[in-house]
Each structure stands twice: as C-alpha cells, then as structure tokens.
C-alpha cells in the first residue's frame, strides 16, 4: 500500500534557494524493513536534491522490480515515477530521456534487477550513454522473494540459511567502466557524508552515472557469514579520500596538501574535489581505476568513493543529434510534412 505523511512543517526548518525545506523533497512512508539500507539512500537522495535546489517536478524517478525498485515511492513526491518491469528500467529511461532530455532521470535498481535479469539493458544503457543517475542499491540478495543469492554476492558469502554461494560476483563498477559509463562511484548506504556529495556530483554530471551502493538487507543478508552486512562493510570499507561537491561560483573550502587532491569540473561548472589517499590514482584514467578496483577486491577490501569520471563524454541525445527543444514538445506543424510533400512522394512512387 502507499501511505503518505501528513504535511506539517516546522516553521524554522532550513530552506534552500527555492524556499523549500527537506520535507518538500520527501515521499510516501517507506514499507521497507526497519533499518533497510535503501531508506538511508532515499534520505541521501532527498538531501542531495535539497542542496542542489532541484525542482522536484523536473525529476523522473524510474525503477524496475524488487525492494530497491519500491524506493522511488519514498522520495520526491512531486516527481513523476515509473515502476516498470523487472530489469527493464534502463529501456524505459532511454525512451523517456530521448523524449525529453530536460528532466533529471533518477533510475533506482538493485543487484537482482541490474546484475541478473536486466544486465543486458543495464550494459546497453551505459553503452549508449543515457544521461541519467543509475542507483544500484546493492544488497547481494533477493529480499522480496526471501533471501536467494544474487549475482553480486561474494563467493565466500553464505545466505541466511547457511548455504554456500557457488558462483563469483559480478563487479558492477568495473563492468560499467569497461562499458563506457562516464561517472562511476561506489558507496555504502551507511556513509552519508560520502554518499551525498557523490549523488550531487552524479546529478550534475552529463552522461551515464552509476552509483553502486552497498545497502545491507537487514532481514536476509545481515548475518555473520555475509559480506554485505553492516558490520562486514564497516570493517572492510576502504573509503577513498573525502569527496566534496562544490557548487558553481563557490570556493573550495577544504585544503589538501599539494598533489593530494584532484578537482573534476562538471558540465554545469560545479566541481568535485577529491582527496587523494593514493597519489598515483587518477579518477579520469579508466585503466587505473580498473586496476585499483581489482587490487582492492583481491585484498578483500571494498573500495568506495568516486572511481571514475569522464566529463567530456557525449550523452545519447547529443550523439543522435536531437534538437534542444524536447521531442515531446514538437507540434503537428513541426512533425507532419503535409499533403504537398505527400504528393511529391506519390510521384516518386509512380
């Protein structure tokens, strides 16, 4: 069922440039389990949209099927949402994006949705560089059907019933980088400080942005032998340096030692400033990113932070030479060639 919260607002709540409070970015009451990582991610999306002064009605929330795919109902009530079919959100996003590229597309998916049934659509949306933020709320399990293994579950990780997982995991971040995703980050639902700026950066980025967010399933995959439990992630998370999102026209406040930070300019002029823990790492070098992910995987660490960014990529609508005016606003006189031209066509066919 969908439940909506009463709209009582405290008069002293902080307002953004649009005069809106965080409450204005909320959605319906979540029906996910108490403590579900997905709810924390929804809260971070709300925070990022609030801070970026996003007009919620200019956002389209898209999802497939699964616990993660329910999440769009729990943030941004003023946005249109589309809860489609299992694993097929990327195609809906592709079509919607071509019809109107002026909206912000937030696609919310899970590991079943993206790494199994929908892996083909996921890859092809990346390959086409659909301009969207693609969240994978990754918990390594099929929650709604009661705890089966997903394709991102680690080899050594057992399920709740103690059964062994026989097949190796798919690393969505490496795959996305190889397929041409132009903004790839991994984070943890429990690390709000890291996640919010990464979401803000992804929103301002033009092109396909993947956020692979480890989001523990408190009911089916939060046990001692799981590698996607809160405890395991906290113990094995190797967060890259702090990421700051710096809006257009603002100064970078944090000062790092020379050579220890890198700045990435986004399409609207805003910047991401990344603290570098490893001086050799360059997030604009796909080869180095892949190497880093592979090394950390080997060490049994979960590397989180902004892993790769290409701020010069061309999104699908540019590749296809679409007009600035969205296709869904074109009127009949712009679309229909009319009877005179049809007469010409007839002549060519006679």
């Amino acid at each position: 069922m969908s439940y909506f919260k009463p709209i009582n607002k405290h008069p002293n709540l902080e307002k953004n440039k649009l005069g809106l409070t965080r409450r204005d970015y909320e959605g319906g009451v979540s029906t996910l389990c108490a403590g579900c990582g997905h709810d924390s991610i929804s809260a971070c999306i709300i925070e990022a949209c609030f801070r970026l002064n996003i007009e919620a009605y200019k956002v389209a929330k898209l999802s497939g099927i699964g616990c993660s795919s329910k999440a769009p109902a729990y943030f941004l009530n003023a946005s249109h949402g589309f809860n489609s079919v299992h694993g097929r959100m990327p195609s809906i996003a592709t079509g919607a994006n071509c019809a109107n590229e002026d909206l912000l597309y937030l696609g919310v998916s899970g590991d079943g949705d993206s790494a199994s049934i929908g892996i083909g659509q996921f890859i092809h949306a990346i390959r086409r560089q659909v301009n969207m933020v693609y969240f994978v709320e990754n918990n390594g399990t099929y929650g709604l059907t009661k705890g089966q293994f997903s394709a991102t579950n680690d080899l050594e990780s057992k399920n709740k019933y103690g059964e062994d997982n026989l097949f190796p995991p798919i690393d969505l971040t490496s795959m996305a980088i190889q397929m041409g995703a132009s903004y790839v980050a991994r984070s943890f639902s429990g690390d709000r400080d890291q996640l919010v700026p990464l979401i803000m950066g992804a929103i301002q980025h033009k092109g396909f942005a993947l956020l692979d967010i480890i989001s523990p399933c408190v009911t089916f995959n939060n046990h001692d032998s799981s590698t996607k439990s809160y405890d395991y992630i906290r113990n094995h998370n190797e967060a890259m340096g702090k990421t700051d999102f710096v809006p257009l026209g603002e100064e970078i406040k944090t000062n790092y030692d020379d050579g220890s930070s890198v700045e990435v300019k986004l399409h609207d002029g805003s910047r991401l400033s990344l603290e570098k823990t490893d001086h050799n790492f360059d997030p604009t070098d796909a080869g180095k990113s892949l190497e880093l992910i592979r090394e950390k995987n080997k060490e049994g660490k979960i590397i989180t932070g902004l892993l790769y960014v290409d701020n010069k990529c061309k999104p699908l609508t540019e590749i296809m030479d679409l007009p600035d005016k969205p296709l869904n606003t074109l009127e009949q006189d712009e679309l229909c060639p009319g009877s005179e031209i049809l007469e010409e066509i007839n002549k060519g066919l006679s």
């Binding site: 069922m1 969908s2 007009e55 009605y57 200019k58 389209a60 898209l62 769009p72 109902a73 009530n77 003023a78 946005s79 249109h80 949402g81 589309f82 809860n83 489609s84 079919v85 097929r88 990327p90 195609s91 809906i92 996003a93 592709t94 079509g95 919607a96 994006n97 071509c98 019809a99 109107n100 002026d102 909206l103 083909g120 659509q121 092809h124 086409r128 296809m320 030479d321 679409l322 007009p323 600035d324 296709l327 869904n328 074109l330 009949q332 712009e334 679309l335 229909c336 060639p337 009319g338 009877s339 031209i341 049809l342 066509i345 007839n346 066919l349 006679s350």
Partner: protein
C-alpha cells in the same frame, strides 16, 4: 528456339505470370524490380512477389510477377514464363511451367529439359556478358540486366521505359547509367538478331493505373509513422519488419530535419533486443512523445511482459507486427496471419489489445498514422498487424492522401493551466465515464499532477493497493475503455450481394486481394456471397450485425488454427457451426482459386441439400 512444340504456346495479352529464378546475393533483385516497374509504367496492373530464403548469399530465390489487366493483385499460382537463372533449381522451375508456357535460360551451358510442351528460349547470357565486360563483378551483375533487355522485344516492353528507369535509378551515380544501358542492349540485341519475337505472351500499354503508386507495405508504415507524428522509433532487426524502421528513417531523415538547426526532430534507436525496443517506446510515450516499435511474431512473444505493463498502466504505444510463418522461428521469410490471438491477448493476466488490419500499403499508411491517434486517445498499445506479403512486396495501390485540416488527437492530457483549475487530480479517475482517464506528462506542474506509474495494482490516484475490490474496479473500467475503443477503430468494409440469404465471408489483411478475385470467380459460377473485411479489433456493432444476419459464414485466413474465427467466437459467443473455417498456411500468399474452389464446393453441396 529449339524443341518442336506439340502444345500450342500460350497466347495472352497483359495477363500472365512470369517467374524469375535466381541465386540470392547476385544482384538480381534490382533487375527484377526494374522489370516489374516497367510494366507498371506501361499502365498495366502487376503484383510482384519476392520468394526468398532466410540467407544472405548462394541459396535459391524467386521473383514472381503477375501481370493482370483486370487488376487482380493476389497470387495466381502457376507460371507462364520462367526465367531460369539458377541451375540448382532448374528441375523445379521447369516443372512448374504451365503447358504452352515459356522458358528462358542461360544457354551458355546448354541443357535439355525434357518438356516438349513448352517453348524454350536460349540466350547465352553469361557468354554475352563475359564478351562485353572485363570486370568479374560486372559480368555477373549485368547478366540480370541483360535478361530484362531480352524480355523487352520478347514481351514487347517499351524499351524507352526501361531506359528511363535506369537513368532514374542511377541519378546519383550517373557513371553507372552507361554500363547498365549497355547490358540492357546486350540482351535486347541478341533477341533482335537471333530469335523470333514477340512471344505469344506480351504486354501493351493501358491506362489502368491513374492515381496508383507502387510501394511496399513496410515503406508505407514507415511513412505513415512520419505523418502520424512519431518522433521515437526503437526496433530490433527481424525479418520481415526491419524495413518499417528503415522506411521511417528514410522519410524522417528527409522530411524531419529542422531546417534552421539541421537537428533531427526524431530518433531511431536500434535496441539490444525486442524487450528493450518496446521498453524504450513505452518510456518515450510515457513522456509524451509518439513512439513505436516494429517487429514480427517472435518479437511479440518477447515483448509480451511489457505489453501487459502498457495495457495496465495505460501508456500509449504503437507496435507494428509484420507477421511471418510461425510457430517458433518458423518460416522467417514466408507469410502468414498467425499472430492474431497472440497480439489480441498478449501478456499474462486479463489483457486485450487494439488491433488494426491493413489490407494493402495504402491502408498501411493510413492506419499507421491513425494508430498514434488511437493509442494516445485510448492510452493503450495499438497494433498495426500486417504481414510479409503486404510488408515486403511492392503493391499497386491507391496513392497516399493526407488531409492537412485534420489535427492529431493527442488524447486526454492535462497541461499546467488545466491542473491549476483542478482540486482533485487522480490519474485513473474515470471522469468522463468512457473508461479513459486523464494523464499528465512528467515535468508539467510544480505541485500538481505527479503520479506513480506502475504495473502493480493501483487505485484511482495511482497508489499501490492490494484491495481486491479496487483492483476489480480497475480491470472492469479497462473493459469499458475497450468498448469505447470499438467505437473509434476503423469500421469493417461490408459488401452485400444482390441475392438475399447469401452466405457471408469474413476476411482481413493480405487475404483481400485473393478474396476480391475469388468473389468474381464465384459470381461467374452463379454463387453470390456477402463480404465483410474486418479492419480492426475490438469488433464493433457492424461486425456483430453482419454475423447475426448470416446463417453460414466462411472465415478465410492464413493460419492453421482459424485464429480470427476463434477471436470472434470468444468475444461474441458465436457458435462454432456458424463460422466455417477456411485456412491456408503454407507460407505462400493465399490464392483466389483456392478460396473460390472451397466455397464453391461447399455452396454447391448446400444447394444440393436444400
């Protein structure tokens, strides 16, 4: 000319069947099309048919042209002239020739065909081309043009018409005009110098094709989509539907580019599979762009889950299904009408879809454009169901027409100013009591009109619900909407005979051409029938009235299981005895004499009984 002919050669003016037997991938298609078009240009009705394998190079392929001054465009059966260019199939090709018919073959390698009842025309085409061209590729390619040149005196095809076709075809590559004309002359000159001409079969200019064009159904569908305002096309390659998307791209790239900016006012995306193709089209429509996908039977199977979503979430969508031979991969390059039920009820759960059945390219154009109005008006998937025969063959058809006064029907869409005047927006509120609710595009209004589109059960405000009564109401409203649809879709075309109490005939789509001819054959044999050509589903009152008014109705279709008959029985509770099924499903286009014979047998039996 050899072989003393024992049977009189066929004598026929403007009425015959010629069949070209070629090897696919050898460039015969354009020569054969040029042949067909030359007769069309002489004002004589033709119906060309490609009979081709699912293969790129090396297998047998045929091109059959029926020339018929009465304008019968269905497949006739039988071959009067064979142009046999493929030694692999000589025996079959020669056997098919009617008594008194003609065989033209490449006599560079002489053969004896053991048919003393046909006229054999020997032209050493390979040798002639080897003598005249140095390039190996040209030698092979121009053999095809050379036999067209030879047919010019043999059949009395106006030579200037052929010359003009060549210069038109190569208008952008003028260097190719000269060698093509040369090849044409090689064949022509050989006949003029060495063979008696013309044959007993020949053509003579008529004036039967005023306001007619020659075009394929798929080209017409693509053009119809441009005229219908489609801006989004997503597709996955599949025979025989691929040329719908290609047709759309061809016309859109010409007529849909913004003159100021040079940008494309359309997009065509080749998807990774049919699931993605239909998903993208749904996404585009959800966002207010007119979008479509084109596919064939296997694609419909793959798209079924999404079709249920579009039905239940009420998202407009246009799907072209160019049917081919099934089941499974079936006969991908042959024709059938065997996806009627899989489209009518596509997807799990209680679903029903709007179907349109064009009979020829002219109607493909018309229905293609109209499908977008219907889809947006009804907020549901609309199928344009054609088939390989209509889609991939060129047809003589009425020229396309467009009324500039007629405006697109964008359906019930609320703008920001509408929402401002409203207190209570519910996406699935049946405000007008016609089963169709009001929708909004994303991004319309800062505070009002947002809703959550979902395939899960939902209430009138698009909220998820597991309340069974509410879900029942939604499903019942969709039935009401389907009734509304029956008032909007194209009417059947009914043609009643003079005689009271005649049996009825129901048919649709590409069966039409054969049916019109069959009716004339039956009439000549003193049998009258009442015709109803179904053009859409859901069936409207006219359809039910016709069925009600007839005691016996033949339902003619190109599938094994009489799918349209089943649909009529299921939807109208019509008794099985009343609807007599008459099916043809060998993958070739249905023939008039088959229909006429079957009906004749049954009707004369009936006459004996009564």
């Amino acid at each position: 000319m050899e072989n003393p002919v024992k049977v009189d050669p066929i004598n026929s003016l403007n009425d015959f069947v010629i069949k070209f037997a070629n090897v696919n991938g050898t460039g015969s298609a354009s020569a054969n099309q040029m042949f067909a078009k030359s007769i069309f240009r002489m004002g004589i009705p033709i119906s060309p048919k490609n009979i081709f394998p699912s293969n790129i190079q090396g297998l047998p392929t045929w091109f059959e042209v029926r020339v018929n001054n009465k304008g019968y465009l269905g497949s006739r059966g039988g071959v009067d002239i064979a142009v046999a260019m493929n030694p692999q199939t000589y025996s079959q090709d020669v056997e098919e020739i009617s008594e008194g018919g003609y065989l033209l073959y490449d006599s560079t390698w002489k053969r004896n065909f053991n048919r003393d009842d046909i006229t054999v025309i020997e032209i050493p085409l390979t040798q002639l081309c080897v003598d005249s061209f140095t390039n190996a590729k040209q030698r092979a390619l121009f053999k095809n043009i050379a036999y067209v040149g030879a047919l010019s005196p043999l059949l009395e095809i106006e030579y200037e018409v052929l010359e003009k076709l060549i210069s038109e075809q190569f208008v952008s590559k003028p260097a190719l005009i000269e060698p093509n004309i040369k090849a044409l002359n090689i064949g022509r000159d050989y006949v003029l110098k060495n063979l008696p001409y013309p044959l007993g079969i020949n053509v003579k200019r008529e004036d039967k094709l005023k306001d007619k064009i020659l075009v394929s159904g798929n080209d017409a569908c693509g053009l119809g989509a441009v005229y219908g305002g489609a801006t989004f096309c997503s597709w996955y390659p599949i025979t025989p539907s691929t040329s719908v998307a290609e047709g759309f791209e061809k016309y859109a790239s010409k007529y849909r580019v913004d003159p100021q900016t040079g940008k494309n006012n359309y997009i065509s995306v080749q998807a990774e599979d049919e699931l993605a193709a239909v998903g993208m089209a749904i996404g585009a429509n959800w966002n207010g762009a007119r979008g479509f996908t084109a596919t064939s039977g296997p694609g419909i199977s793959l798209m079924s889950e999404f079709l249920g979503l579009a039905y239940f979430a009420e998202v407009p969508l246009v799907i072209f299904n160019i049917q081919r031979g099934g089941p499974s991969t079936g006969m991908p390059t042959r024709t059938q009408q065997s996806d009627i039920l899989s489209c009518a009820y596509a997807s799990h759960g209680d679903t029903k879809h709007v179907l349109l059945f064009p009979e020829d390219p002219q109607e493909c154009f018309e229905f293609s454009a109209e499908a977008f109005n219907l889809a947006e008006r009804l907020q549901t998937p609309v199928f344009v169901i054609s088939d390989l025969d209509i889609g991939m063959n060129d047809w003589v058809t009425d020229k396309f027409e467009w009324d500039d006064e007629q405006k697109y029907d964008r359906g019930k869409v609320l703008k920001a100013e509408d929402l401002d005047k409203m207190d209570n927006f519910g996406r699935y509120l049946d405000v007008d009591d016609d089963g169709i609710c009001y929708r909004t595009y994303p991004g319309t209004h800062p505070e009002k009109g947002a809703f959550f589109t979902r395939g899960t059960s939902h209430d009138e405000y698009a909220r998820y619900t597991e309340n069974g009564d509410i879900n029942e109401q939604t499903l019942t409203r969709l039935v009401k909407k389907f009734r509304t649809a029956s008032e909007l879709v194209p009417d059947p075309i009914i043609n009643l005979s003079e005689k009271q109490g005649s049996s009825g005939v129901i048919f649709y789509g590409s069966t039409s051409a054969a049916m019109y001819e069959a009716k004339d054959i039956l009439n000549e044999n003193n049998i009258e029938v009442d015709l109803m050509r179904i053009r859409s589903f859901p069936f409207n009152l006219d359809v039910w009235e016709f069925i009600e008014n007839h005691d016996l109705i033949y339902v003619i279709e190109q599938n094994r299981d009489s799918q349209m008959r089943t649909l009529i029985m299921a939807e109208g509770g019509i008794s099985a005895e009343k609807l007599r099924s008459l099916v043809w499903f060998n993958g070739d286009p249905i023939q008039a004499k088959f229909i006429a014979k079957k009906i004749y047998e049954r009707e004369s039996q009936q006459a004996l009984i009564t």
